[in-house]
Every structure is written in C-alpha cells, then in structure tokens.
C-alpha cells in the first residue's frame, strides 16, 4: 500500500517540488498551504494520511501550532510529523521534540537522508 504524505508549505514552488520528489519515490502526496488547511485535511481524512511534512514559518497557523493540534487530537496524535525548515533555534527544536515531533530536517536537505528520515518515521512512528 502506498503511503500518503501531507506536504505543508506556504511557498508554492517548494510545495510542488517536495510533492514531485516524493511522488517520484513512490509516495502519494497531498498538499496544504498552511497549518490550518493541513489540519482541515487531516481531520477530514485521518486514515488517508500517514505522515505530515511541514514547514515551520507559515501564515494562519505555523508548524508548531499544527504540531500541537495534531498531537492533542485523539485520532491524529499517532501521525508522525516532520518539520522541514530553515529554522534551527535549539529551544524551539526541543519544544517541538517534547510535543512529539519525529524529526527536524533543515533546508537545504540531503535527498537521501531526507527520504530515509521519512521512511524511518513512517515505520517507527
């Protein structure tokens, strides 16, 4: 069964690029422009999304808010969340980890390690 990854980024070209990269590697993708839209998609179809790959800085609802919302939602809290961001503030990273973030990948990423982090998160929650 193909895994579906929800790609959340407010910047269109990054979003498309990520989706296409992931598609090429055999994942299904869904896209959302911000945390709010992502959360709506998750609630709408909780079983159809296996992993959330989100930017950190976004309008409307940022990555951290999205993470909090996912991890406090009974149906969604098991979904692995990965942040893909230029941010690397240790305090924020620690906070995110304590909230249940699976991995923090900084842009620019290395494709192979990025993909293995996704695969690892998909398999190990």
């Amino acid at each position: 069964m193909e895994k579906t990854i929800l790609v959340v980024d407010d910047f269109g070209s990054i979003r498309n690029f990520l989706c296409s990269t992931l598609n090429k590697r055999g994942y299904n993708t869904l896209a959302a422009e911000n945390g709010k839209e992502a959360l709506e998609k998750l609630i709408e179809n909780p079983s159809g999304i296996n992993l959330v790959l989100s930017d950190f800085n976004m309008p409307k609802m940022d990555g951290m808010e999205l993470l909090k919302n996912i991890k406090s939602h009974t149906e969604l809290k098991e979904k692995p969340v990965i942040f893909l961001t230029t941010e690397s503030d240790p305090k924020t990273m620690r906070e995110a980890k304590e909230l249940g973030l699976s991995a923090w990948v900084t842009k620019p990423y290395k494709l192979l390690s990025f993909l293995s982090q996704i695969e690892y998160a998909l398999n190990n929650g």
Partner: protein
C-alpha cells in the same frame, strides 16, 4: 529540476512584488508591525527555498535581511532611514539575483558586494547594541563562544548497534555533522558484521557551542549515549600531526583518552605556534556557470482572464482587418493596399503570438497519467511499461483541462480491459510486460494524441452481440469494423464482463467522446484482435480562431475548416441534382465520391447556379464532398458562439463576422456528414 527553478523564480518575484507595496507604506508608518513581520516572512521563505534549490547567494543575502528584520521585530534596533533605504535597494537586488543567481554579470556582482557590506554594517550595529544590553557576564561569555571555532571530540554509542543500510536516524545525523565544519569520523563496526556500527568517534572543528552540538542529536538522544568534549579552541584538524595522532589511536583500537589528547594538543601547539588558526575559512570560490544562466528564459505570471481578454481583442482586430481588406478591394487605393498588407502581417503575427501564450505542453498532465498507470498496475497486478512520445507538443490550456478526464478514462480501460494478465500474455506468446504508449504529434492544424496498448484488442463479435442485446442494432445489420467500434461510443454501452473497481464507474466512452467534442475534437478507435488497440484523439490547436475556406450558397455564407480541405472540383449544377436525397455519390475525376449538398441540406433554393464547387474534405479515413455554389477564398474565422437555440445543431461550430459585416456559419465538416448521412 529546471522547471522547479523557474517556478521558484516566479514565486519569489511574486512575493517580492507583494512586498514592494508594503514597503512603500512602511516608509510613512515605520512602526507597522504587520509589515515588518511580512518582510521577515518573505525573506525567510525565499531564503529557505533558495537554499533548497541551491542558490547560495540568494540564500545568504535574504538570510542577512531576515536577520535585520528579526532584530527590528524584537526591538533590538530601530527601523531608520538607512535600514529602509537598504531594504529598498536589497529588494531590487534580489530581483536581479533571481535573474542572475550566480552573479555572472559584473554590475550585479559589484552591487551585491556593496549591498552585502551595507547590510553587514547594520547587522554589526545590531550585535553591538545587543552586547551593550547584556549586562551579565555569563551571557557575554556564551555570546562570545559563538564566534570561536572549537575542536570537539564526540563519541556516539547507540544503545543497539546500528545497521548502516537500515536508515537509522543516527546515521543521517552523522551526515549533518559533516556540514558543521572540518571533521574526521571513524565508524567502529562489529567484527562479525561490517554493516553494524557499534560507535562513532568524531573530531569536529566548528563554531557551534556545546549546546549546539548536542542539539544536532536532539532527535536521537533517547537512542544513543552521546559524549561531547571540548579539545581546544582552534581548528586542530588543520594540523596534519594531530590527524596522524588520531589515526594512531584508531589503529591501536583503544578508547580515546581526552586528557591525553588535550596534553598532546598543547605540546603540538607550542611547537607550531607560528602558524595556527589560519585554515578555518573553508569556503571555496565556486566556478561560475555562465551557460546555465544564459539559457533561462525570463517569465512572468499573468492572470488568465487578462489573456482571455487579449485573445478577444486580437480576434476583434482580425475582424477589423478583414473589413479593411474588403474596403480596400472596393477602393483600390495603392497606399491603402500596402497598409492593409502590413496590417495583415502584423495581426497574423499577433494572433500566433497570443495563442502561443495560452499553449501548454501536454507534459503538464502526463505526470498524473504516469502515476495512474503505476497505481493501477499494482492494483491489477499487471506489469506495464508506459511510454510517452512527443509530450512536448503544445495544446491550448483549456483543451488540456478538458482532456484530463477522458485520458484517465481511456488509460483505465487500457489497463483494465485492454491489457491481459501476465499469465494470459505469456500464453499468447507475448512478453509478460504490457506496453501502453501515449503519443502526441501535429497533423496539419490538428494535434493528434494516440493511446496505444499491445493488449488483447477488441473483439468485434463481442461488441456486436452486446449491441444487439442492448438493441442498439438489429441482428441483420452488417457493420464494418470501424462502424462496430463506433458502437462503443453509444451511450450505455459497456463491454466489461463485470464491473470492476478500475473502470466500470458508470462513465462510458460516450462521455469521453462528448468531452472531446466539446473542444471541437473527436476520437476514433482502431484495433486488431490479439495485437492491441489504438485510440486516436484529434484536437484543434486553438479554440477561438480557425483558418477556414469561405464558401457561398444561395447568398448565405459558410466556412469550412481549411485543414480538412483536400481539393476543390467544379462541376455543372445539373450533375448534383440526382434524386432529391441529401447524400449522393457522384463520379468526379473517375472516382466515386459521396457528397452532401449544402443547398439541399439547409433548404436554400432561391436560385440555381450553372456550376457548383465540390469541396473534398477529409472525413476520418475517407474523403467526402461538400457541394457549395462558390468558393470565395481563405479566411481567418474568429469563432463566435451561437446561442443556445442552436445547441442541437452540433454540426455548426459557431459563426463568424465577415469583413463586409455579413455573417457566416462555421461548419464542422465531419459532424455535418455524420448528421446528414443518418
């Protein structure tokens, strides 16, 4: 990758242009938090994307501006005129960087250097004011620590040995460490299994502080034991002697003794005091790649309704130009003649240019189709090779939009019914892997898209039986293979023996054809039993202007699509007037030609001409004749839709206004034939 670069440039420009208007209002209202926040966010977004796509200069530059606005929003500095001015220039410069990311242009390069310095000055100012604000000594020490390169010894010992190929997160954190500065990493693997790593010894020279290093391991700290030791406040890895020493330790396979190492380093440093601390800067000048930037064509985003409006205006212009031409034919002024000719040239050129704007390569949708085939091949457990040819062929974007559903449906059919299972294929002596080819090419003024599979082909008898069952034909009717395939397009026809998940979804080939016909295209089927099936979709290149042949019948005007016209014969009217039937077969130039007289079909009988013209048109694989009174010449017909009253007459593509103000009907020759032969 290039298309993503292009879209990154476009998206970034869009963000910048939004920013520009915000910046203008910032000038009058420098305290506006929202605008400051927006500038920060735009810079942050562009930085992230630029780094990701490998545009270092853009990434670095936007990073610096981001730093400034981060300080402004944290009230560390005040947004004064200098900052504002620098911001304005920087935004301009980012535009330039988006055109020339490698700074191959001299001017861009010097602007870059100049601005970078200005920006750095502001950042230095921020640092200074930060430091003066920090009164406690502890904080100052930490702050200073950031600037200095330390060499660390790091030992990472996973609780369980890590398989190198398993993709355990620890292994990619090792990769992250490599990025942090000069390093030396030694994996200690199990003697019995070289792929299992027991622990890593890492020497790293970096300006990260200890917390920063520990942070790299944040997401694996539960799974590993991590030791970080400061060795010395310089990049000792730059010293060959030190590297040799670490190798000695490795070879001896003894645990690293920190104290021993530190003592050794102190001795070493004393020895080489003269030249130390100089190889920290690892940045190397990258060779600039001029060819790459030269090839990138600049593009802008335009709202589609603007293009539609432009298309309409050009259409009007062409009508007007036709009017001028007809005036010219009456007036015969030599000066007017050359103006008319030039105007015709320019407006034709304009028409072609404007239409090419709304053209998109078919490629834009093939990714989706590829994925569909891939998913279906897994679902149906059929091995398939999906081949695309000529997908750079361009089509009107409106046509591409309409085309998507029919193509998906056809592919589903190919996969589900067309292709056999691997066992069936093997039994039939074919390779187990099926092939589906999507091929697009120009054919005259049309685009053809073929979807061909090498599956079981269509069984004519099965269709026939089904059609009789469904009372679509009587059991006596004799049909050619082509006519039989046509039955597939009848509403309610489905040959699937059982409804499957993949195809039988209630949408039949009739809907496919209807959709394609909506954009003045058509679809036909060719098939060979056991060999495969080919669906050919014929599409017009553009939706709103066609090159036509203007004809006259009894004072009324009709336009036939020029691309279908094969030849024109002139014959006496009497020859066409045989027996009152609409469709007749005439012997013209020793050939039997089925013809339709427009005069009869439309009931135009006011006058009787002596001679009539038979326009030979391509009708699928055959040639048919359309009889008109007189051929007036070629025309660029700007299609105007007909009202809903005409919706049942699908053989009328639309109407067009002629140069002299008369109205002509634009005929769809193929549909006209089909309509009147039934």
């Amino acid at each position: 990758m290039d298309e993503f670069h292009q879209s990154f440039f476009e998206d970034s420009r869009e963000l910048l242009s939004q920013l520009e208007s915000a910046l203008l209002s910032l000038e009058s209202n420098p305290q506006d938090k929202e605008i400051i926040e927006e500038i920060f966010r735009v810079m942050h977004t562009i930085k992230g994307a630029a780094n990701m796509f490998g545009f270092e200069q853009i990434g670095q530059f936007t990073h610096d501006i981001e730093t400034i606005y981060d300080a402004i929003r944290n009230h560390e500095i005040v947004l004064d005129n200098l900052v504002l001015e620098t911001t304005f220039r920087s935004v301009d410069h980012i535009y330039a960087l988006l055109e020339d990311p490698e700074l191959s242009d001299e001017d861009n390069h010097s602007t870059h250097e100049k601005l970078l310095k200005q920006v750095q000055d502001i950042i230095d100012e921020i640092e200074k004011s930060k430091k003066s604000q920090q009164t406690t000594a502890i904080l100052e020490v930490e702050e200073n620590e950031k600037e200095i390169v330390w060499t660390y010894y790091i030992n990472i010992r996973p609780h369980e040995a890590v398989d190198k190929v398993s993709g355990h997160p620890v292994s990619f954190i090792i990769e992250d460490i490599i990025e942090q500065g000069q390093n030396k990493i030694k994996e200690h693997v199990k003697a019995e299994d070289q792929n299992k790593v027991i622990y890593w010894d890492i020497y790293l020279a970096t300006n990260l502080n200890e917390e920063g290093i520990r942070n790299l391991f944040l997401f694996v700290e539960d799974e590993c034991q991590i030791e970080v030791h400061k060795l010395v406040s310089c990049n000792i890895l730059a010293e060959e002697a030190f590297v040799k020493k670490t190798e000695e330790i490795e070879e001896a396979d003894i645990p690293v003794d920190i104290e021993y190492l530190q003592n050794y380093i102190n001795e070493l440093l004393a020895e080489i005091r003269d030249h130390r601390l100089h190889q920290i800067d690892e940045k190397k000048d990258k060779p600039s790649d001029n060819n790459k930037t030269a090839n990138q064509s600049a593009s802008i985003r335009v709202a589609t309704d603007k293009i539609d409006r432009l298309v309409n205006l050009v259409s009007e212009l062409i009508t007007l130009q036709a009017t001028l031409q007809s005036v010219n034919q009456i007036q015969k002024l030599p000066q007017l003649e050359s103006i008319t000719e030039n105007l015709e040239l320019i407006s034709n050129n304009l028409r072609d240019t404007i239409f090419s704007i709304s053209l998109l390569p078919l490629d834009t949708m093939t990714v989706r189709l590829k994925r569909l085939v891939r998913t279906l091949s897994q679902e149906l457990n059929k091995e398939v090779k999906f081949i695309t040819e000529g997908v750079d062929t361009e089509l009107d974007k409106n046509i591409i939009e309409v085309l998507s559903d029919p193509l998906i449906h056809i592919l589903r059919n190919c996969m589900d019914h067309g292709l056999e299972t691997a066992e069936e294929r093997e039994a039939a002596g074919k390779s187990t892997e099926g092939r589906i080819t999507l091929r697009a090419y120009h054919s005259g003024a049309n685009i053809h898209i073929e979807i061909e599979d090498d599956g079981r082909g269509i069984n004519i008898d099965t269709i026939r039986t089904r059609a009789i069952q469904k009372k679509l034909i009587s059991s006596e009717e004799v049909l050619s293979p082509e006519q039989t395939y046509e039955l597939l397009f009848k509403p309610g026809f489905s040959t699937a023996e059982k409804v499957t998940d993949v195809s039988g979804r209630g949408v039949g080939m009739d809907v496919v054809r209807k959709k394609i016909r909506e954009v003045r295209g058509d679809i036909s089927i060719q098939s060979e039993l056991g060999q495969g099936t080919k669906m050919t979709i014929r599409l017009p290149m553009s939706l709103s202007i066609i090159d036509g042949l203007l004809t006259e019948v009894d004072g009324s005007f009709f336009v036939l699509p020029l691309n279908l016209v094969m030849r024109i014969d002139e014959i006496p009217y009497q020859q066409t007037n045989l027996d009152g039937k609409l469709m007749k077969t005439l012997a013209i130039a020793d050939k039997q030609l089925p013809v339709l007289s427009i005069r009869d079909a439309f009931g135009l009988k006011e006058s009787t001409p002596d001679m009539v013209s038979v326009v030979n048109v391509q009708n699928g694989e055959e040639v048919r004749g359309i009889v008109v009174d007189e051929v007036k010449g070629e025309i660029q017909a700007v299609l105007k839709p007909l009202g809903s009253m005409y919706s049942s007459q699908d053989y009328l593509s639309g109407s067009t206004i002629l140069g002299d103000g008369n109205i002509a009907f634009v005929l769809d020759a193929n549909k006209l034939m089909t309509h009147f032969s039934n």
